[in-house]
C-alpha cells in the first residue's frame, strides 16, 4: 500500500517535471479506468487473468518458491483450452466450458509445477531457471502451432487457430468485455485463502516456505510440498489462460503475447501473497493499463508513465525493508566516523 502511494506521488512529480498537470493526468487515468461502464468492464475483465495468475505466483511464494514462468503456464492453458474448444463438438455448452477450463488448469499445473517441481525437489534444479525455460518453450510452442502449416493453424492468411465452439464461450455480463470469468477469479481467491489458512496442507505449505529446516524437522516432506506448491501455482496460471481465452479472444492468435504472467509476479509482490490482496492488486494494475490509454488521449501524457509507476511500485515493495536498514546504517556510521578517525591518528 505504502509502496503504491509513494510510487503515485513520484509519478506525479515526474508528470509535473515533464510539464503536465499531474492532477489532470491522474484524473484522466481514473475516469479512463472506472468512469464509464465500458471502462469499468475492461478494467474488471483485465483484472481477471492478472488475479488468477497472481494467485498462482503467490501460492509459490508462500512456499518460498519463485515461479517466474507464469506466462508460459498461461500459454499452455490457452493452447489446451483452445484445442479442446474447437476439437470437441456436441457437448452441452456448460460441460464443454468446464472441460476446457479443467484441461487448461491441469496442463498449467503439469508445465509449471510437476516438471520444475520434480527437478527442484530431486535434482536441485533452481525453479527460477526451470520455470522460465519452460515458459519460453510454451510460448514458442504456441507460436509454432498457429504458424502457417502448424498443427493448429486455421485456413487463411492469419497466423491463428480455429475458433472455440461458441457454446463454450463464457457469458458476457457487462459489455464489451466483462464475462462470468470474474467469478472464476473471486472463487479462486476464496479457495486459495481457505486452503492456505484453514487446511493442514496450507499450513504445511506455509511452514515449508517460512522455514524449510523446521518443516523437515517437524516431519513435513519438503520435496513433496515443493512439487505441490509449484503444481498449484502452475494450475492457477493455466486456469488464467483458459478462462481468458474462453472469455475474450476465443482463439489462439499471433501477437497473443500479453505479459499477464509477468505482471502477475508484481501483483503477488504488491499483495504480499494474500489472496484477497491479489484481487485488489490485480484490479489496480488493470486500471493502470486501461486508464493509461485515456490519460494519453486526454492529457497527452504518454501512457508509458503507467509502466514507470509499475516499476516504481516494484522498487518500493522490494525496498520496504531497505529503508529502515539504510536509516540505521546511516545513524551508526555518523556516530562512528569521528571516533575511528581519532583512533587512526594515534594508532600508527
Amino acid at each position: 500500500m505504502l509502496a503504491s502511494v509513494v510510487a503515485i506521488l513520484i509519478g506525479a512529480v515526474i508528470a509535473a517535471v515533464l510539464g503536465f498537470n499531474p492532477l489532470a493526468a491522474y484524473g484522466a487515468l481514473v475516469t479512463g479506468a472506472f468512469g464509464t461502464s465500458m471502462a469499468l468492464s475492461s478494467t474488471l475483465a483485465g483484472a481477471v487473468p492478472l488475479a488468477l495468475a497472481g494467485l498462482g505466483v503467490a501460492v509459490a511464494f508462500r512456499a518460498g518458491l519463485f515461479n517466474i514462468g507464469a506466462e508460459g503456464q498461461y500459454w499452455i492453458g490457452v493452447i489446451v483450452a483452445v484445442w479442446l474448444g474447437y476439437h470437441l463438438t456436441g457437448l452441452p455448452g456448460w460441460l464443454h466450458t468446464l472441460v476446457c477450463v479443467v484441461g487448461a488448469t491441469l496442463a498449467g499445473g503439469l508445465w509449471g509445477g510437476v516438471i520444475p517441481g520434480l527437478a527442484k525437489a530431486y535434482r536441485g534444479a533452481h525453479e527460477v531457471i526451470t520455470t522460465m525455460m519452460m515458459s519460453y518453450i510454451a510460448i514458442y510452442f504456441g507460436q509454432y502451432l498457429i504458424a502457417a502449416g502448424g498443427p493448429m493453424h486455421a485456413p487463411g492468411y492469419n497466423a491463428q487457430s480455429p475458433q472455440i465452439v461458441k457454446d463454450a464461450w463464457l457469458t458476457v455480463l457487462l459489455p464489451p468485455q466483462l464475462t462470468t470469468a470474474v467469478f472464476f477469479a473471486i472463487g479462486a481467491a476464496l479457495v486459495v485463502w481457505w486452503g492456505t489458512f484453514h487446511t493442514t496442507v496450507g499450513f504445511r505449505l506455509r511452514a515449508v516456505g517460512a522455514n524449510p529446516h523446521a518443516a523437515r524437522y517437524a516431519g513435513i516432506s519438503v520435496p513433496v510440498y515443493t512439487v505441490l506448491a509449484l503444481g498449484l501455482s502452475g494450475m492457477l496460471a493455466g486456469l488464467a489462460g483458459g478462462v481468458q481465452v474462453l472469455a475474450l479472444d476465443h482463439r489462439l492468435m499471433w501477437g497473443f503475447n500479453t505479459g499477464y504472467g509477468y505482471t502477475a509476479i508484481v501483483v503477488a509482490l504488491m499483495a504480499r501473497n494474500h489472496p484477497f490482496g491479489v484481487l485488489l492488486a490485480a484490479l489496480f494494475f488493470s486500471a493502470l493499463s486501461t486508464g493509461g490509454q485515456n490519460m494519453q488521449m486526454v492529457s497527452q501524457l504518454p501512457s508509458s508513465l503507467t509502466d514507470v509507476l509499475t516499476g516504481l511500485i516494484v522498487f518500493f515493495v522490494a525496498a520496504e525493508r531497505i529503508v529502515p536498514l539504510t536509516i540505521a546504517w546511516y545513524r551508526r556510521r555518523r556516530g562512528a566516523r569521528a571516533q575511528v578517525a581519532s583512533a587512526r591518528e594515534g594508532g600508527r
Binding site: T199, A207, A210, H213, A218, S221, S342, G346
Partner: protein, 512 residues
C-alpha cells in the same frame, strides 16, 4: 605493564540471546591472556566484536587507551588487531606466499612474486614460524596452515594476535609446536589473546586468564594462582552449580535400542560408526563428547531426519529404522533440536502455529484436514500457562520471544505429546541461569514420569548432574558407557579424547 587492549562493559544482543552482556577485559602489553568459557559463553561473539565483524550495542573498546570503533574487520586490521579464525580462510590452490600477501601485494600493477616470497621468508625467520613460502597451501598439514594464518596477520603488522580455539583442530604434537610459537611471539612483545575452553591448555600457556560465563566476564586472575578446580568452578559458576536433586528411580523396560548403527554424511564420510546403546523408561542417558564427534548425526538418525548406512533402531519393540520422521514422531519420539531457531521453530509463525507444527495432522489441531483454530489456541494457552512462557500471548510470533522462552515453547510442545522417548540436544545452550534450572527440572520430571530421555550436551556439568548413565562418544564411536553417579569430570574428559581408563572397562561392555 600498560594495558594494550581494554574492553569495558561491552554488550551485544541478538534477538532472543544476550550474547555479550557486560564483558570486561584487559590485555596488557607483552602477555598471553586466555579467555576461558564453556560453549555458548560468548567468547566468539567477543572476538567478533574486537575484530570488527560485529559492532557492540553498548560499552567501549580501547586500544592503548584510546576509544576505538570498528565498522568492519578492515578497520580492526588497520588498527593492528590480528585475528586467526578457528576455520582457516586460505586459498588451497595458491602458494603460501601468495596467500599471505593477498590483498596487500608487493609491486605495482604487476604482482612481484619474488619480492613476496622474500618478504614472507624474512617474516617467517623473524618470528621462527618456519614454513616454505613456495609450497602450495593445499599440500600443507593443518598445523602448518595455521602457521600461514598467523603469518598472514603478522604480515599485516598485527600488534595483537587473537587465536580462536586454535588447538581444536590440532594434534597434540602440533598443539605443542603452536605453544612454542606463542611463547616466541610473546618474547617479541606481541600480546596474544588465546580463546579456549580447555583448562590444561590455558594453564600451560597463559599468564592471566579471564573467565566468561553466560555472556559475562566473571573474573580475571593470574594462571599461576588458579587451580583447575577454581577455574572450573568459575566457568560453570559456583553459585549456579546445578546439583539438581535427583530422586532414586529404577529404570524400566528398554524404550529405545540402537544396534550397530552407522551414519554417513552427504560426502559419504562416516560420522557414526557402529554405535549400540539402549535407553530405558525412567532413565536419562547422557551422551558426552567433544562437538562434532557424531552426536548430532546419531540423534538425527534416531529421529529419522537423516538416513542410516547400517544398523537397526528399535523403538518400543518395533523396528523403526525405515520409518519416515513424521511417523516416528507420532509413535512417541519427541525431539528438542540443537538449533532452536533454525530447526525447532518457525520464527515467523505465531505460538499457536508453532505448537501445532509437529502434529498438525492430528487432533486437537485438525480434523479431516481442516485446521481447528479455536482448539489449537486453547491447547496453546494451556501449554504457555503450564510452562510459564512469557509473554503468555498465543498470537505472538515465536521470533519475538527470548531464547529461554523459545526453548520453553519447544519443550512444551514436545512434552505435551506424551512421548515415550525425549531426545534433547543442548537443551540449555545459551540460556540464562534461571531458564537452565527450569529446563533441567522439566527433564527430571519426565524421568520421574517414566519417560526415556536421551540427553546430548557439550556441557559436562549438565551431563554429570542429570544422567543416570553416560555414553561418551569419540570419532563416531561410543568409547564407553559409565554409570552417572560415580562418574567424574576427569574420567569423562579422558574418555572424550578416545582413551579408555582401565577401571571403567569393566563397567559396561561397549562396541569395539
Amino acid at each position: 605493564m600498560a594495558s594494550f587492549l581494554e574492553v569495558i562493559d561491552v554488550r551485544k544482543y541478538f534477538p532472543g540471546v544476550k550474547a555479550n552482556d557486560g564483558v570486561n577485559l584487559d590485555v596488557r602489553a607483552g602477555e598471553v591472556h586466555a579467555i576461558l568459557g564453556e560453549n555458548g559463553a560468548g567468547k566468539s561473539t567477543l572476538m567478533k566484536l574486537i575484530s570488527g565483524l560485529y559492532q557492540p550495542d553498548g560499552g567501549e573498546i580501547r586500544l592503548e587507551g584510546r576509544r576505538v570503533q570498528f565498522d568492519s574487520p578492515r578497520d580492526a586490521i588497520r588498527a593492528g588487531i590480528g585475528m586467526v579464525h578457528q576455520h582457516f580462510m586460505l586459498i588451497p590452490a595458491l602458494s603460501v606466499a601468495d596467500n599471505i600477501v593477498l590483498g596487500d601485494e608487493p609491486g605495482g600493477i604487476r604482482y612481484d612474486r619474488r619480492e613476496a616470497v622474500r618478504r614472507v621468508r624474512a617474516l617467517s625467520e623473524k618470528y621462527r614460524l618456519s614454513v616454505d613460502p613456495e609450497a602450495r597451501v593445499a599440500r600443507l598439514s593443518v598445523g602448518l596452515q595455521q602457521r600461514v594464518e598467523i603469518l598472514k596477520v603478522l604480515y599485516r603488522r598485527a600488534r595483537l594476535l587473537i587465536l580462536d580455539e586454535p588447538t581444536a583442530v590440532l594434534t597434540p604434537q602440533e598443539a605443542e609446536e603452536l605453544f612454542e610459537v606463542v611463547r616466541h611471539l610473546k618474547a617479541q612483545g606481541i600480546p596474544i589473546l588465546f580463546i579456549s575452553h580447555k583448562l590444561d591448555e590455558v594453564r600451560a600457556i597463559a599468564d592471566r586468564v579471564t573467565v566468561m560465563r553466560a555472556g559475562r566476564t566473571v573474573d580475571t586472575l593470574p594462571t599461576a594462582d588458579a587451580s583447575p578446580q577454581e577455574l572450573a568452578n568459575l566457568m560453570v559458576g559456583r553459585e549456579v552449580v546445578l546439583r539438581v536433586e535427583k530422586p532414586e528411580q529404577r529404570a524400566g523396560d528398554v524404550v529405545l535400542s540402537v544396534e550397530n548403527l552407522s551414519v554417513s554424511d552427504a560426502d559419504r564420510r562416516p560420522r557414526v560408526r557402529g554405535v549400540s546403546l539402549a535407553v530405558r523408561a525412567g532413565e536419562i542417558l547422557g551422551i558426552a563428547g567433544v562437538d562434532g564427534n557424531g552426536q548430532t548425526e546419531l540423534v538425527d538418525a534416531i529421529a529419522g531426519l537423516i538416513p542410516v548406512s547400517g544398523g537397526r533402531i528399535t523403538f518400543l519393540g518395533e523396528d523403526v529404522t525405515a520409518l519416515p520422521p513424521g511417523e516416528r514422531t507420532h509413535r512417541g519420539i519427541a525431539y528438542v533440536p540443537q538449533d532452536r531457531q533454525r530447526d525447532g521453530l518457525v520464527l515467523d509463525f505465531t505460538l499457536v502455529e508453532n505448537t501445532m507444527l509437529r502434529d498438525v495432522a492430528h487432533p486437537p489441531f485438525s480434523r479431516r484436514g481442516l485446521l481447528q483454530h479455536r482448539a489449537a489456541r486453547a491447547h496453546t494457552e494451556k501449554l504457555l500457562e503450564a510452562f510459564d512462557v512469557r509473554p503468555r500471548d498465543p498470537d505472538r510470533k515465536a521470533g519475538d520471544l527470548s531464547g529461554g522462552n523459545q526453548q520453553k515453547v519447544i519443550l512444551a510442545r514436545e512434552v505435551s505429546r506424551e512421548p515415550s522417548l525425549l531426545i534433547a540436544v543442548q537443551p540449555t545452550r545459551g540460556l540464562d541461569v534461571g531458564a537452565i534450572e527450569g529446563i533441567h527440572r522439566q527433564l527430571l520430571r519426565l524421568r520421574q514420569a517414566g519417560k526415556a530421555i536421551l540427553l546430548v550436551s557439550l556441557e559436562l556439568d549438565e551431563i554429570l548432574s542429570l544422567s543416570d548413565r553416560i555414553a561418551v562418544m569419540h570419532h563416531g564411536q561410543v568409547v564407553d558407557i559409565v554409570p552417572g553417579d560415580t562418574a567424574t569430570r576427569e574420567q569423562i574428559g579422558l574418555l572424550m579424547t578416545g582413551t579408555r581408563s582401565s577401571e571403567s572397562e569393566v563397567a559396561q561392555p561397549s562396541n569395539r
